[in-house]
């Protein structure tokens, strides 16, 4: 019992919870969101879409299999989704320091200390989740003795700029040349493209790709309010006039919608889980998807040359878009998974096929 450091979790609505620290001891503030996934904390914590957020895990037992090492493959960390932990803090119910796994190299707590990210356990995470569900995502802060930080709303910041690559990077040497607009891309998107015989040219979020030569354009996931990405939206408007295939994921989907003239809005508490069902419009097919988004596309505002490709089977929200005549499509969910189910990875195959068809036509 001794040697434990307690920390206070304070929510915007004034409620307070006491937890025990297992990460770095520093007071922070951010937007609190919850994720209902039961596996994949190393992947989630390094997902750039969580930038600025305090993540609550609804699954209570965290840290069990430790954290894998920093093995690199194709210039990317093999086991992480970016080069560092992206969340502002991690809140769990029951934490395991004595991890057990052949592939682990350190404990979750030690890893978070390395990355200077606080974590607390021993909190009623179900109660927190219900509060977020009922009152919507809210700001929160973690306070270690004496130091109470100011409230900080990450959605007011340009989060994409914080997580995007500062410069152009080229990966692989495959037959299809894909420009990847990095708004905070997850490594597994790059991996999914590379294993399909592509060359991936990763460019910064505000990069003008309209003059580039490529077989396909990929708009990545990323954090925050899509409307902040004015440059990317303007550039997309330009390339919509052409016929080169475009695929988007998550934030990328919202940017494509905004560029097409549709509107986006903030969801009450978002979709962050591994079990979101999406129905392929006009079919009896329903897929289980991995999701992490706080904003959504207003389907009613879609112009007539665009149509929904997928809709959420639970709440009917837009889960994907498709151009009625051009090879442009996008998914709100994460077909690259990592973490989560890999059932929709076929979308990458469809993107490749579109590029091949386009080459034939050209």
């Amino acid at each position: 019992m001794s040697g434990e450091t307690k920390a206070k979790l304070i929510l915007q609505d004034g409620s307070e919870y006491i937890g025990t620290s297992f990460g770095y001891q520093e007071s922070i503030s951010g937007e609190m969101v919850f994720n209902t996934a039961m596996t994949g904390y190393p992947e989630s914590l390094t997902d750039p879409s969580y930038r600025g957020q305090i993540l609550v895990s609804t699954f209570p037992l965290i840290g069990n299999y430790g954290v894998p090492g920093t093995l690199q493959e194709d210039d990317l960390f093999r086991f992480y989704e970016s080069e560092k932990i992206q969340v502002s803090a991690f809140i769990v119910s029951d934490y395991t320091e004595e991890f057990s796994h052949w592939n682990a190299s350190l404990s979750l707590g030690d890893w978070m200390k390395q990355h200077k990210i606080p974590g607390i356990y021993g909190v009623d995470t179900r109660a927190l989740t219900k509060k977020l569900r009922e009152q919507g995502s809210m700001l929160a802060k973690i306070v270690f003795e004496g130091k109470e930080p100011e409230w900080k709303d990450p959605n007011l910041e340009n989060l994409v700029a914080q997580v995007s690559t500062p410069e152009k990077i080229v990966y692989g040497n495959g037959k299809h040349k894909v420009v990847l607009l990095d708004c905070g891309v997850k490594n597994n998107i790059i991996r999914c493209l590379l294993k399909r015989d592509t060359t991936v040219i990763r460019v910064p979020h505000d990069y003008d790709f309209t003059k580039e030569e490529y077989d396909g354009l990929f708009i990545s996931n990323g954090p925050g309010d899509p409307k902040q990405n004015t440059k990317a939206i303007a550039n997309l408007k330009t390339v919509f006039g052409q016929d080169t295939p475009i695929m988007g994921i998550c934030l990328g989907t919202q940017l494509m919608a905004l560029a097409a003239g549709a509107d986006t809005y903030k969801l009450k508490y978002g979709h962050r889980s591994h079990n979101q069902p999406v129905v392929l419009k006009g079919s009896k097919r329903c897929f289980i998807t991995s999701q992490n988004h706080g904003y959504a596309i207003n389907m009613d505002t879609l112009p007539k040359e665009w149509e929904p490709l997928f809709v959420n089977a639970n709440d009917g929200t837009c889960e994907g878009l498709k151009h009625t005549s051009k090879p442009f499509f996008a998914s709100q969910f994460h077909p690259e998974a990592s973490s989560g189910p890999t059932d929709t990875e076929f979308l990458f195959d469809d993107f490749i096929k579109m590029m091949e068809d386009h080459k034939v036509k050209r």
Partner: protein, 1119 residues
């Protein structure tokens, strides 16, 4: 018209479709699917046949009552007429109102065909009745009967089932889609098996194909072991598999669902605590998996989906893997294309009703067209997100069997299981270990679990394995050392070590005032009970710690340390859920439930884990009590923790607490619910044992007063009451020395029934017939002292045993049912064959029994159900037991009479009006027979003989127009077969020789060849029966009884033990055990043997009436 799920596709298109594993958006393959599939089924399927699983046996327990009930509910919702075949009369699914027609008949091709001819169904469901239904379905298909009667198999196609059941085809199919299976060879003889082993190298595992629960399976490390095991396995199945051993790998299971449109989900995965090598039915299991990374979890998940798509399963399927603990290498161990024990567990673990959904998918629905049963707003096409863990722990009853090995391994021996819910592993496992109900208080604090050789216990796991880990930690073993000995993942071990360390912390304090609140709270968070806290902190010397644990309770309540209620909602609180499915935990600050506090709820205490002596019948009673509470407009609240039941289906009550039935937890729930009262009399002995404690804690116990319950349970007070009422009972005495025992026996004479209060080994109860046996039993099996007295009772031979089941209100009997045993007294009532209404009792006997019952009911002022066991000999009636609760036979008599005893009992307990015009058993025009199912074949080396202690695992109840009709149906239902050729008889003592004489004559007349052991052959020959004499197993002669069985020259063995005591390994044992091991029907009771032989000699199978439950009970009385 014949149609297929893949509808308008041609055979070639279908093949291509099934080969496709990755759906492509651009491929439009679902255009090929008949989008009108749902309509086609709707138009063509109006009546379906559902096959049940029959009696409960090891490997096939009550979980199939749950899955079958769910399937029937799904069909009913669609307006489809259902016909159920299931001889298990104690199930919920065979209750009126669930299926439209019920046949209490054996689930075998012959009877199923007869029912098909009569009912003319359009479709058949095979996946909801376990291996029994599946095997029967395959036999029907192979015999061309499904085609002949144009019967559509709904759900998974039969070809798929066959592919997954035949291990060689299965392995080839998986190889074809690049899925790894253990290297294995399918062989059909011992020489082939030895050859395969040479190629694989030892250790290897041997499995028999087409069996349930791993029957006939095992590990071998050399040729000799292999030869022995292969011979046994080949007796169960013509094909066995010799496979590479993956001992020490992790074992992980996925429950997968697929619809006809190729949509797939995995509802739950589960990880075994024990690594591969221990059957999943014998292992502690945790859900979801805890030591798998995202990459491992989803790799196995995608493989499961790939497999289910390849095979074309429609409905539910389970995939079992071995996963290398040092890499992502894996093997697929098994695929079950049906609902299973694991699927029931997964349903309860997640709240996702797998069987219900699977049944709907069989009707052509797409997954996302169905609703999530818990939220009622979101879709069923999703994968539950848990915000808790569940821990399943098996329940064994190996102590009930003589000679059985206690080591656990690759075949299943457990008879039941519990599921504990918690928000950390420590909490779940400690709860679970208490739920098992064998006197354990959690992982630590158990005084009766001490091992002389901990290392051996760790390396050779027994049913007590987890407690040996506790002792190892106490002895200072490190996690690494225990891991080396057990190969259990260190994550689990570190959690168990954590519990041990908390215990040590607690022990540093000697009173509650010193104990820091943080430590007290931590102990509760990690699953310590008040009892454990009292033991570690207050350290009382006595084992009865009622006042201490109440002191702990009071102390922590004063400190505000109380559990909170959390919902099981399938979505980890992501969406609002109106779910009534809850558990208690200390990991939380707030309740999910707002309590009405309106005095409108009634709590029904359930029956806990299935075990020998308490099984599906108490589940039926619980469910019917809940229904009756609902009918009165009150709120029904269930507490139970057995995942294999219907009572833990959240649909059957207004609120389900999936939690402990401990005094502490029941009080916690009562504190929250403030109920009108608690029903303790429908869940068997567990709730009954709580009644007085609850009463003392000022809880309102509904029905008979706990003081009366106590009076009946206590041997002394009950006996005094009988004396006072001038009701006869066998003479008995509680004795504290061997001399006193001898003196008492001199008075009453042999044989006597002996019940020690402390048992060293062997059965707790025994009948001894002479001084030698007495001395032997007392020396070997029991202690006699002041502290451990022995109860000795007069044992009346050749007495009839009679069951009385009744319901009373305020001391007046409302309704009763009297059944008689086929066997004479001496066979435990749970093992005996019951006849109802009685056929061979004197009218006078019945009249006097009713008088006795009325006196007792009055004297104890009974309100609710009660049961008595009596002996009758020459009209002398003695009471041997009285239970002021529902008994095992309540569902049986309720159904045969078509009158719900439990509903009436509940009405009595709730003090609401009870309808008039109650039926009488004398008006019945049919006869019910309840027969017992034994699972000796699962219990390697156990002596398959019946005695005063119960050993059956299940039962059936069949109805017939006459005695022989009903007996034959019942015997065939529990696995007996009518012999076609020869019969081996060794008829034991002279009394049973005489009993069997007429039967032997009948067999001879029927043209059966008879073999007899010496004495039997001599006796029968002298009495004019032609019989061939054979030697005893240990005799050096050409033909012995043992050889006959081994060479399968007989197809029925009758072996009557020479005396009433369970004896050591001897000739008789060898005959019995060999018959069981070679799956040849065995009868060990002369009265039952006669009844069976009379029946099949007087009636052939074609003479048996194919009548439904309603054919019997709704028949117009036309006299």
């Amino acid at each position: 018209m014949r149609f297929s799920f893949l509808g308008e596709m041609s055979g070639e298109q279908r093949r291509v479709f099934l080969k496709k594993n990755n759906y492509q958006l651009t491929a439009k393959s679902d255009k090929l699917m008949a989008l009108s599939l749902r309509k086609m089924i709707k138009d063509n399927i109006k009546k379906v046949l559902v096959l049940g699983s029959g009696a409960l046996k090891i490997g096939e327990a009550g979980e199939f009552d749950y899955s079958g009930s769910q399937a029937l509910k799904a069909m009913k919702e669609e307006g489809i007429y259902t016909v159920l075949i299931n001889p298990n009369i104690a199930t919920v699914q065979t209750s009126k109102g669930i299926a439209d027609q019920i046949y209490f008949l054996p689930v075998t091709p012959y009877f199923v065909e007869q029912v098909i001819l009569k009912e003319k169904p359009d479709g058949i469901l095979l996946a909801f009745g376990g291996q029994t239904a599946l095997n029967c379905g395959i036999q029907l298909f192979n015999a061309g009967l499904l085609k002949k009667y144009n019967l559509q198999v709904l759900g998974t196609p039969i070809e798929t089932i066959i592919k997954t059941e035949d291990r060689e085809i299965f392995a080839n199919e998986l190889r074809g889609i690049d899925v790894k299976t253990p290297q294995s060879f399918a062989v059909e003889s011992i020489p082939e098996a030895l050859k395969a082993a040479e190629k694989l190298g030892f250790p290897i595992i041997v499995r028999a194909a087409f069996t349930l629960g791993g029957q006939g399976s095992g590990f071998c490390s050399n040729m000799a072991e292999l030869e022995k095991l292969a011979e046994n396995a080949l007796s169960y199945s013509s094909q066995i598999l010799v496979e590479e051993s993956l001992k020490g790998w992790k074992e992980v299971e996925y429950e997968v669902v697929r619809d006809a449109y190729d949509n797939c989900i995995t509802v739950c995965n589960m990880e075994n605590f024990d690594p591969l090598g221990i059957h999943t039915g014998e292992s502690i299991v945790i859900a979801p998996s805890q030591t798998l990374t995202n990459s491992e979890y989803h790799k196995l998940r995608s493989l499961a989906i790939k497999i289910i798509r390849h095979f074309g399963v429609v409905g539910e399927c389970n995939v079992q893997y071995a996963l290398d603990p040092n890499s992502e290498d894996y093997r697929v161990i098994e695929v079950n294309a049906r609902l299973s024990r694991s699927s029931a567990l997964a349903s309860k673990a997640t709240g996702y009703p797998l069987a219900f959904v699977a049944a709907k998918l069989g009707l052509g629905y797409a997954l996302h067209e169905l609703k999530n049963a818990v939220t009622k707003t979101t879709t069923a096409c999703f994968e539950p997100a848990l915000d808790y863990v569940v821990c399943k722990i098996p329940r064994w009853d190996l102590n009930k069997f003589e000679g059985v090995t206690k080591e656990i391994g690759s075949s299943m021996k457990s008879v039941g299981e519990v599921m504990a819910v918690g928000r950390n592993f420590e909490e779940a496992v400690q709860k679970g270990l208490r739920m098992i109900g064998q006197g354990m208080h959690g992982f630590v604090g158990n005084v009766h679990s001490k091992f002389d050789d901990v290392d051996r216990e760790l390396t050779h796991p027994t049913d007590m394995r987890i407690f040996s880990i506790a002792q190892a930690f106490e002895k200072g073993y490190s996690i690494d050392k225990i891991h080396d000995l057990t190969k259990i993942d260190k994550w689990f071990l570190s959690k168990l070590e954590h519990i041990t360390k908390l215990k040590w912390d607690l022990q540093k304090y000697n009173n509650l005032q010193e104990l820091p609140d943080t430590l007290l709270k931590a102990a509760k968070v990690y699953g310590f009970s008040d009892f454990q806290l009292a033991r570690f902190v207050l350290k009382p010397e006595r084992t009865d710690m009622e006042s201490e644990l109440l002191e702990v309770r009071k102390h922590r309540k004063a400190k505000g340390i109380v559990p909170v209620v959390k919902q099981i909602d399938t979505l980890a609180a992501e969406y609002p859920a109106q779910t009534n499915y809850v558990y208690l935990t200390y990991s939380g600050d707030e309740n999910d439930i707002t309590y009405a506090d309106d005095n409108q709820s009634v709590i029904v205490l359930g029956s806990g884990a299935y075990r020998i002596g308490s099984s599906v019948e108490f589940d039926w009673c619980s469910v019917n009590a809940l229904n009756a509470v609902n009918k009165e407009g009150l709120r029904s609240v269930m507490i139970n923790y057995n995942p294999e039941t219907v009572s833990t289906d959240y649909d059957v009550c207004d609120r389900l607490y999936f939690d402990e039935l401990s005094f502490e937890r029941v009080l916690d729930i009562i504190d929250l619910e403030s109920p009108r009262g608690v029903i303790v009399s429908v869940g068997g002995q567990i709730p009954q044992n709580l009644s007085m404690r609850l009463h003392k804690a000022d809880v309102k116990v509904l029905g008979t007063s706990p003081e009366s319950i106590d009076r009946a349970e206590n041997r002394q007070t009950f006996s005094a009451m009988l004396d006072e009422l001038k009701i006869d009972q066998p003479r008995w005495n509680e004795l504290t020395s061997k001399e006193a025992i001898n003196d008492f026996i001199d008075e009453v004479g042999f044989p006597v029934l002996i019940r020690p209060s402390y048992v060293l080994s062997g059965a707790a109860m025994n009948v001894v017939s002479n001084k030698d046996e007495l001395g032997h039993f007392l020396d070997l099996a029991a202690q006699v002292s002041k502290q451990y007295p022995v109860v000795v009772s007069e044992f009346i031979q050749e007495a009839k045993e009679i069951e009385f089941d009744g319901v009373a209100k305020n001391g007046d009997i409302i309704i009763d049912a009297i059944s008689e045993h086929v066997e004479f007294a001496g066979v435990h009532s749970g093992d005996a064959t019951l006849v109802f209404p009685p056929q061979k009792l004197y009218f006078e006997t019945i009249r006097r029994i009713r008088k006795i019952a009325a006196k007792i009911a009055k004297s104890l002022n009974i309100t609710g159900p009660f049961n008595m066991q009596l002996l009758a000999k020459d009209n002398d009636i003695k009471v041997i037991e009285c239970n002021l609760r529902a008994s095992r036979s309540f569902p049986f008599v309720s159904k045969v009479m078509d009158f719900n005893f439990i509903e009436t009992a509940t009405q009595a307990m709730l003090d609401v009006p009870i309808p008039n015009n109650l039926p009488s058993m004398f008006e019945l025009e049919h006869i019910g027979i309840k027969a017992s199912q034994f699972s000796f074949s699962r219990l390697s080396k156990a002596d398959p003989v019946l005695g005063v202690d119960m050993s059956s695992t299940g039962e059936v109840g069949c109805i017939g127009a006459d005695y022989y009709d009903a007996i034959l149906k019942a015997m065939l239902s529990v696995g007996y077969r009518i012999p076609k050729s020869a019969i081996l008889i060794s008829s034991g003592p002279i009394r049973s020789k005489v009993e069997l004489l007429k039967s032997a004559k009948m067999l001879e007349e029927k043209g059966h060849k008879l073999y007899g052991t010496r004495g039997t052959a001599k006796f029968l020959e002298e009495n004019g029966v032609t019989i061939e004499s054979v030697g005893w197993p240990d005799e050096d002669v050409e033909v012995t009884a043992h050889n006959l069985i081994k060479e399968r020259k007989v197809d029925l063995v009758i072996n009557i033990p020479k005396n009433l005591s369970k004896s050591e390994l001897n000739n008789d044992y060898l005959i019995r055990r060999t018959a069981i091991d070679l799956n040849i029907p065995l009868i060990t009771n002369a009265r039952l043997a006669s009844a069976f032989i009379y029946s099949f000699c007087k009636k052939s199978i074609e003479d048996l009436g194919i009548d439904s439950f309603s054919d019997y009970v709704d028949k117009k009385q036309d006299w």
